[in-house]
């Protein structure tokens, strides 16, 4: 227990912000997806740290982390399929060029 809880939280928050930045700054749909995945995994660090430091007797944080992993996988699968399908019809996955719907 030498490392204080706040260190984990700071790392998680930093990773979350990096992912956040990636989502906002990147134009490639796959890179945006990677940013989102980073955000999800940053939160997982939070869950595990909280589990260890706040209530280690109940493994709720671990369970939540497993579900987040599973959901992230499902989202990645669906997202990649969508991106491939778009690439086939448009020949681009740059979100600046995917701008048919507006107004």
């Amino acid at each position: 227990m030498a490392i204080p809880l706040s260190w984990y939280l700071i790392v998680a928050a930093a990773l979350f912000c990096i992912g956040f930045y990636g989502v906002l700054a990147r134009r490639n749909a796959v890179a945006i997806l990677m940013g989102v995945e980073l955000m999800l995994n940053a939160v997982n660090i939070n869950f595990l740290a909280f589990w260890r430091y706040v209530r280690p007797e109940e493994p709720l944080g671990q369970v939540f982390a497993i579900f987040v992993l599973a959901v992230a996988a499902a989202e990645a699968a669906v997202g990649l399929a969508l991106i491939i399908s778009i690439y086939r019809t448009r020949k681009t996955i740059n979100i600046d060029n995917i701008d048919l719907l507006r107004g």
């Binding site: 030498a2 493994p59 671990q62 992993l69 599973a70 996988a73 699968a77 990649l80 399929a81 491939i84």
Partner: protein, 118 residues
């Protein structure tokens, strides 16, 4: 306070030393007779036939997507396996339902022909 981080430091040192040995030792004691073949990137003993930066056929994505889904389901079995002795028949039935639903998805994917390469 700082003494608590000693195991961490030792771990780093051991890892660094191990990596350094693995890199330095072969160049010191290994036989050296370079030829063109050896300069090629390694591809499991095969001769690489193209550059790595090429487009992959879409079938790879299909397999990758299916792999992610069925791979991640196994994660749920670890906590279940740890507790199976206590959960007994109840746990077995629950996992049976979980696998049944997964199996229906598997049958669907199979009948759709997603496992066929062409």
């Amino acid at each position: 306070m700082m003494i608590d981080y000693l195991p961490l430091l030792i771990l780093f040192v051991v890892a660094a030393v191990f990596a350094a040995i693995a890199i330095i030792m072969p160049s010191l004691i290994g036989p050296k007779n370079p030829n063109k073949m050896k300069q090629e990137p390694i591809e499991s003993g095969m001769i690489p036939f193209t550059d790595a930066r090429q487009r992959f056929p879409v079938q790879y994505y299909m397999v990758a997507v299916l792999f992610i889904l069925f791979d991640i389901e196994v994660v749920f079995m670890y906590p279940w396996a740890v507790l199976l002795n206590k959960l007994k028949v109840f746990g077995l039935i629950e996992m049976g339902f979980f696998l049944l639903i997964l199996l229906i998805g598997y049958v669907y994917v199979w009948r759709k022909g997603a496992f066929e390469w062409d």
